[in-house]
């Protein structure tokens, strides 16, 4: 048996999505009585301090290696698969981030494990995780039965974010990276360029997203302004990206990225199944659309029927008044 969590850091800080996975696995262990819980994080100098945020029980292995501060696919695969084998863990969990999506199938292959991508997991008394996922662009749900002893699960965001578990405390253990031959790393990550400005859509607490109903690239300025007032970030539907109004990295939905904000404001988005699949984990959904019959309203908590170009500025005004009072 045994649970193993692959943690991801950015700039020496454990990613929120990874912390969620760690906390969920702690809850699984509470339910099932599983005692063997390992985590592993790879990063540059000082990364060992970042795991202080991980509560609960178990042991987190830390690989400190300046060359591996950023994701290096072949080296990460070698190191992580090696430690999972050493720990004897059967159930491996990773957040379904850009790195997680790339790494999980590689790890599964090395371990001879079944792989369940972009899933949710629940654990009963028998310690074996039960996974579910969606297929056909979020239109169909399915339970996934793993037929091998070992399994790698990449977990998507969920609305009900797990709380920080209390426990006996996590042991932090520095380990050797073992294999280090940078010249043999292929592919080799040469550079990461982070876009300046706002928080990434997957990490923001408030996301203001626009679709075709926004009416043009220039009108996204209204959404930017609202996002500024809220301290949020701006995303887009597939239509808005296909129109060339926003970059692909802003795309929310099954073909883009899944988001899990506290507040999601859909502006001029009709609400295709593919889009709704990317916002299931949002806590509160607000829809603004000219068409009162748009499917987005069925998936929303609050709705305003009206034109984006009129409603959004009024909404911003109302937000700024509240913020001023605060």
């Amino acid at each position: 048996m045994g649970y193993f969590v692959i943690l991801e850091q950015k700039g020496g800080v454990v990613k929120r999505a990874s912390l969620d996975v760690w906390n969920r696995v702690q809850q699984f262990a509470r339910t099932s009585g599983e005692k063997s819980i390992y985590g592993l994080i790879i990063g540059g100098e000082g990364v060992e301090r970042s795991v202080a945020d991980c509560g609960g029980d178990g042991c987190i292995l830390v690989v400190v290696e300046p060359e591996l501060e950023h994701y290096m696919p072949s080296a990460y695969t070698d190191i992580i698969a090696g430690h999972i084998r050493d720990c004897g863990s059967d159930h491996v969990f990773i957040a379904n981030t850009a790195m997680g999506k790339d790494l999980a199938p590689r790890i599964a292959m090395r371990l001879g494990a079944g792989h369940v991508s972009d899933c949710m997991v629940e654990v009963g008394k028998d310690k074996v995780p039960g996974a579910s996922t969606t297929v056909y662009s979020g239109k169909v749900s399915a339970l996934v039965k793993v037929l091998t002893r070992k399994a790698v699960y990449s977990l998507g965001p969920i609305a009900d974010r797990p709380s920080v578990p209390s426990g006996d405390g996590v042991e932090v253990k520095m380990v050797e990276s073992k294999v280090l031959q940078p010249s043999a790393w292929n592919p080799y990550l040469k550079e990461i360029v982070y876009l300046k400005g706002r928080k990434d859509i997957t990490e923001a607490d408030i996301v203001v997203a626009g679709g075709r109903g926004v009416g043009g690239a220039e009108h996204f300025a209204l959404l930017e302004s609202l996002a500024d007032a809220l301290g949020g970030t701006v995303g887009a539907s597939r239509s808005a990206v296909d129109e060339g109004w926003r970059p692909h990295s802003d795309q929310i939905g099954q073909t883009g990225r899944s988001v899990a904000p506290k507040l999601y404001i859909a502006c001029g988005i009709s609400g295709a199944a593919q889009h709704l699949a990317g916002i299931v984990a949002a806590e509160t959904i607000v829809a603004i659309n000219r068409d009162s019959e748009a499917p987005i309203f069925k998936a929303a908590d609050y709705g305003i029927v009206g034109d984006v170009q009129e409603v959004v500025p009024r909404l911003e005004h109302a937000v700024r008044e509240i913020v001023r009072v605060k």
């Binding site: 790339d102 792989h115 990490e203 509240i322």
Partner: protein, 246 residues
């Protein structure tokens, strides 16, 4: 240069998805080439057009009904089309093993590049490309949005949360294509007619590998919440504020 492109056949994204007794009703599906595989194929054909002596071979794992997507690959510009039989039972691992067997059998050694789509638009697993890369024992980068090939040096870019990663890569290598990599061309009638006359070659893709996961209890999913309609933005902000959402 030798390039292999893996192509899947999926229901078009507008198809109505009905589930009957836990099974997808595919009787009214309109089947097309997986959209992500179109980006993969387009990129391979563009490389061929820029580098003399390059051949592009399309592979699809499945039955004879996959002839249509293989013929489309020929019309887009692939030089040869291979139907990989005996291994497509819907499990990513088995499909990857089957494609791997066919690719290894066809090339003496390995192709220089293998292109796949990031994922298939039906099951959305995004597993086959990276599994195939591991099986072939070659370098792989998934969800590539930009590629440069200069003097045999390969540079690729992929999106990460809030930024872009740039990788240097040595061939042989596998790349999975993300939307944004290119805009696939439209096929013209002449190319489609010519492709109809070209052969589709059958390859043995039967493998001993067994499925590693099984999908059960399929159900149509609704994401309904109870929507409260509001007349003014002020009301909305007051409600969100009271809820602690601002």
């Amino acid at each position: 240069m030798k390039i292999a492109v893996c192509i899947n056949r999926v229901p078009d994204t507008g198809s109505r998805i009905d589930v009957r007794q836990g099974i997808i009703d595919s009787s009214r599906f309109n089947m097309v080439m997986n959209p992500y595989d179109e980006y993969a194929l387009e990129e391979a054909v563009r490389i061929k057009e820029q580098h003399a002596g390059t051949t592009v071979s399309a592979f699809s794992a499945g039955g004879r009904d996959h002839y249509d997507v293989l013929r489309k690959a020929l019309a887009v510009g692939a030089d040869a089309a291979y139907l990989v039989e005996g291994g497509n039972n819907g499990d990513s691992y088995v499909v990857a093993a089957s494609l791997g067997k066919a690719i290894k059998a066809l090339y003496s050694g390995l192709p220089d590049l293998v292109f796949c789509g990031r994922e298939s638009s039906d099951c959305n697993r995004a597993q086959v490309p990276l599994m195939l890369g591991e099986m072939l024992g070659i370098a792989a980068v998934s969800a590539v949005t930009k590629l440069e090939l200069l003097d045999g040096e390969l540079k690729v870019w992929r999106e990460t949360e809030g930024g872009m990663e740039e990788y240097a890569l040595r061939a042989p290598a596998l790349l999975s294509a993300e939307k944004g990599l290119n805009i696939p061309r439209k096929t013209n009638i002449k190319a489609v007619m010519k492709a109809k006359k070209q052969p589709v070659i059958h390859l043995d893709g039967s493998v001993e590998e067994l499925p590693r996961v099984r999908y059960e209890e399929l159900q149509t999913l609704t994401r309904d919440r109870k929507c409260r309609f509001l007349d003014t933005e002020k009301e909305l902000v007051a409600l969100l504020h009271a809820k602690g959402g601002l």
